[in-house]
Symmetry: C2
Subunit: 232 residues, 2 copies
DNA sequence: AACAAGCAGTGATGATCGTCACACTTGAGG
DNA sequence: CCTCAAGTGTGACGATCATCACTGCTTGTT
């Protein structure tokens, strides 16, 4: 891994929806205030309750936002793949960090200070509009999640999570056939808001039904369509 | 109830955070595209899955966003009091309505068409910034809610809901002493994501502890601080 | 090769909570 | 004033799930 040049950063930024409306020159200006940073797998970017307002864009790797409970349990709020932005909430409402973000893989990001971002938004209203779209999408997803957590059983939630992961993998270039997902059972359980054991039991059911094959730290979905039968 | 004049509408809009940065003249222009509408208690403004993109501002009364499950259960995502904006998500991501909004009381709103709102945002970037703040706040609240739904017991969630309602009432002018909340047990249960019966049982505990007094369709909180002891 | 650490499978158990059922109360409308 | 719908209180029951407590299986490290 090598620190990117400003040019490389600009190229990355072009792929980020929030900045997609900018001209080359404007993009270059954004790149100037964007600081490349690197985190090892497992590293914590910020913690719930911290008082910072930097936002981050994933370059490579995988980041994750979690909420932890005092008894040690935790749930995953969302994962962030390359091109996605996180940590922007604290920039607009002056509150502390509402979640902890850590890295699931070795991850390169670029960081943009809150002040810089706010200035950019003032100069380029189209950034604000894009940001609204991004927030609207997140809010929808979270409402969806909340409804699931309230109405559906663990089985159904695990199946739904698998379905989402398949969609994400497909959007990311995976083909129509089998889709490999690199998550442990514990990761899946956290996404589904359940315990590792419960998830494990249901995954065994799916495996016996021939819908998935499990491996250590990974899992292959053979029949994504069949998953829907378990979502109700 | 009388249809408001454009002038009255402008006065209302001034109190809405999203429009608070505008000049009198700009506010008047917004008021021109804002259509006053009236809904009876129980009326539905739009339903999950609808394909509309109008947004609404509450003038008087109380609106509520809910998600319904096929088996008849439902949860309340949020309530909207006078001055608050709802229905704006569909304006930015071209998706269908993600929730149903109905009226808990006879409610007056002003409606702004999606196209008008987008145009206004283009002309007045400060609206976009305010909107981002509003969305950020909602997203935070929803994440909070999701964490509660995952980690906490019904007791704890009901207590938390009561706490929130007390805060809202205080912010709305209620004094330091007893706070009256006009919700049925069923309403509270929905906010807490639980069944009416479970909520009822725990409210009885709170009543025996002297922390609240219940009445039909209303409830008085005597000791808001004591509620915290039940949130863990 | 031995070992530790992380991941996965699974039984037993008990707590929580939704559901059903029904009685009781209250208040608004005819 | 009577009715009826809406709101509330409570018991019984069962399903779901988290938790605990293991065992066994990989993988990579010393």
């Amino acid at each position: 891994m090598v620190a990117p040049t400003t040019d490389e950063t600009a190229t990355l930024l072009r792929a980020v929806p929030v900045f997609s409306g900018l001209t080359e020159a404007d993009l270059a200006r954004v790149a100037e205030v964007a600081v490349p940073r690197y985190f090892e797998a497992g590293a914590v970017v910020f913690r719930e309750g911290d008082d910072s307002d930097t936002c981050y864009i994933v370059r490579t790797g995988l980041a994750r936002a979690i909420r932890e409970h005092s008894d040690g349990r935790s749930i995953t709020l969302s994962n962030f793949v390359p091109g996605e932005l996180f940590g922007e909430l604290a920039m607009f409402d002056n509150e502390r960090r509402s979640a902890t973000v850590d890295m699931l893989e070795n991850t390169e990001v670029v960081a943009i200070l809150g002040g810089d971002m706010r200035r950019l938004m003032g100069e380029h209203p189209e950034i604000a509009v894009k940001l609204i779209s991004a927030l609207a999408k997140r809010l929808r997803a979270t409402n969806e999640r909340l409804a699931r957590q309230s109405f559906q059983t663990v089985q159904s939630r695990v199946a739904a999570v698998l379905g989402q992961l398949v969609l994400a993998a497909r959007a990311d270039g995976a083909g129509e056939g089998d889709v490999m997902i690199t998550s442990t059972q514990a990761d899946l359980a956290q996404l589904a808001g359940s315990s590792r054991e419960s998830a494990s039991r249901f995954l065994a059911v799916l495996e016996r039904a021939g819908i998935i094959t499990q491996g250590r730290g990974r899992l292959t979905v053979h029949d994504a369509h069949a998953l829907e039968r378990y979502v109700y």
